[in-house]
């Protein structure tokens, strides 16, 4: 762990002076930061600090008011979200955004979208290539369901799952796009302790496959246990960064989180 965090790896994602403004409220005030490739990066900070806004900017759902975002050295600020997904960034949402009336299986199959090709003609006329592709999609989707442990629920409508499993399903759907960077927005929010522990294991296993993980999370225990590096955002500003050990002693962080002593 320590070795990864200390190695001067090329950042997979680099933020340069990213700023985001809504009306009179500034959500991000010039964030600059690089996420090293292959690590688990936590982003913490109080509610409303701008963490989700940051994820929206990286995944293309918002385009920053100013500043640059580089993914593997390539500027992606202002690209459409589906292009960013094709390039290899996927995400989950703070308020679960599953396709609720579709089955669990279909949700993950949809995640294969950026890695498959058949269009209207090929699917409508059932070209052999399309049938092969559909079979492959089904196999791969099953693989991801197995990976997160939801294979038994494959045929249920996604909306019928309990919240904990919905959150896991969202992660499976994100993984199915084969991202090299996956953004998890409060994956443990609303989970009980046992579910949170399982989530921690899952995130570690994702990291072991070589995927860089960035997560916004409030559960400090989870953050401290699994992340290699922590970025603290407060009031739209970069407050501190370091290893979990460094962060936990950081006076500014303690104040931001607990209020002054």
């Amino acid at each position: 762990m320590e070795e990864i965090s200390k190695s001067p790896a090329v950042p997979i994602l680099e933020l340069r002076e990213v700023q985001m403004q809504f009306g009179g409220v500034t959500a991000l005030r010039g964030i600059s930061y690089g996420i090293p490739s292959g690590i688990i990066q936590a982003v913490i900070g109080p509610n409303g600090a701008g963490k989700t806004t940051l994820f929206h900017c990286v995944s293309g759902l918002l385009s920053p008011t100013s500043g640059e975002i580089l993914f593997r050295g390539r500027p992606i600020g202002g690209l459409l979200p589906h292009r960013i997904a094709e390039l290899g960034i996927s995400r989950t949402f703070q308020h679960v955004a599953l396709f609720k009336s579709m089955t669990v299986f279909e949700n993950v199959m949809l995640g294969r979208h950026p890695r498959t090709r058949s269009g209207f003609w090929a699917t409508g006329l059932r070209f052999p290539s399309m049938r092969r592709e559909e079979r492959r999609i089904a196999q791969e989707a099953m693989y991801y369901l197995d990976f997160v442990g939801l294979a038994d629920e494959a045929e249920l409508p996604a909306g019928a799952l309990p919240l904990g499993k919905q959150k896991i399903l969202e992660i499976a759907r994100a993984l199915a796009t084969e991202p090299s960077l996956v953004l998890l927005d409060e994956p443990a929010g609303g989970l009980n302790m046992r579910e949170t522990e399982e989530l921690g294991d899952l995130i570690r296993r994702i990291s072991e496959t070589g995927t860089t993980v960035a997560l916004v999370e409030h559960d400090m225990n989870l953050v401290m246990e699994i992340s290699h590096r922590v970025l603290v955002i407060h009031y739209g500003e970069h407050l501190a960064t370091g290893t979990p050990d460094e962060i936990k002693d950081h006076p500014a962080v303690i104040e931001a989180y607990l209020g002054e002593g």
Binding site: G24, N47, G189, D219, N221, K248
Partner: protein
């Protein structure tokens, strides 16, 4: 004054509140703390009438109020300063305050003098009275939201995450305001994730975790309770923070 008895609320298919009971006595400030997704907002929405509890009783000043719409609950004397401020952003500051006093609209003189008092309390709002509320800064919006709630002359003020998304200095200012309200003898239910700041100024506190109250006690005791840090920061965080 406010009594919540074993309330269950479902949020869609999610069982968000699993039998929550709490009470607030007159002229008391009670803090409710808990992590994101613990059910704080659901509890607030249930008390203020935006959501209906599936089971349980909510009483305010001896009358049952569960299932009553929010319009009526304001008239009964509960004012909410909502999470994320929820000001009328396309209207002027003045109009926002006026709307806060909607239930007193027939009493023009009272509204005017109340508004004057708000301007005295927050001079910055007087300066911006003709500006669109959406162009205010986060801290100013929060002050506006608090004043708007006060304009209804409530007996109980529910403050939902007043420090959310604000700069540290502004947070301090907001807590100063909350403390001032408390000194004036107002009854306050404060929902916060800034646990320490909230418990420091509260008489009593409750800790909510995944839809259940796990702890309660007076502010100072809770503040030093290791379980509070556990509930808010997660298991084992104490060691990390104390290390």
């Amino acid at each position: 004054m406010l009594k919540v008895k074993s309330v269950h609320t479902y949020y869609g298919s999610i069982h968000a509140l699993k039998g929550v009971s709490l009470h607030v006595r007159p002229a008391e400030m009670v803090a409710l703390i808990g992590a994101n997704g613990a059910g704080k907002s659901t509890l607030v929405n249930t008390i203020c009438g935006l959501m209906k509890p599936n089971k349980g009783i909510i009483e305010f000043q001896g009358e049952s109020i569960q299932g009553i719409g929010p319009e009526e609950i304001v008239r009964r004397g509960i004012a909410l300063v909502p999470e994320g401020r929820q000001i009328f952003s396309t209207m002027t500051v003045e109009a926002n305050l006026e709307m806060g006093a909607f239930i007193h609209r027939r009493n023009g003189r009272q509204v005017e003098s109340d508004m004057e008092r708000m301007y005295e309390r927050f001079p910055i709002l007087r300066e911006r009275s003709q500006q669109l509320a959406g162009t205010l800064s986060g801290g100013e919006q929060q002050m506006l939201a608090i004043s708007r709630a006060l304009m209804s002359r409530p007996q109980l003020i529910v403050l939902d995450e007043p420090s959310m998304g604000l700069a540290p200095l502004v947070v301090k200012e907001i807590f100063r305001i909350v403390q001032e309200l408390r000194r004036e003898g107002r009854t306050i239910l404060l929902i916060e994730q800034n646990a320490r700041a909230a418990l420091q100024i509260a008489d009593r506190g409750y800790v909510l975790e995944t839809g259940k109250l796990v702890l309660q006690g007076d502010g100072a005791t809770l503040l030093n309770h290791r379980e509070v840090q556990r509930a808010y920061l997660g298991k084992g965080a104490r060691q990390i923070w104390d290390a």
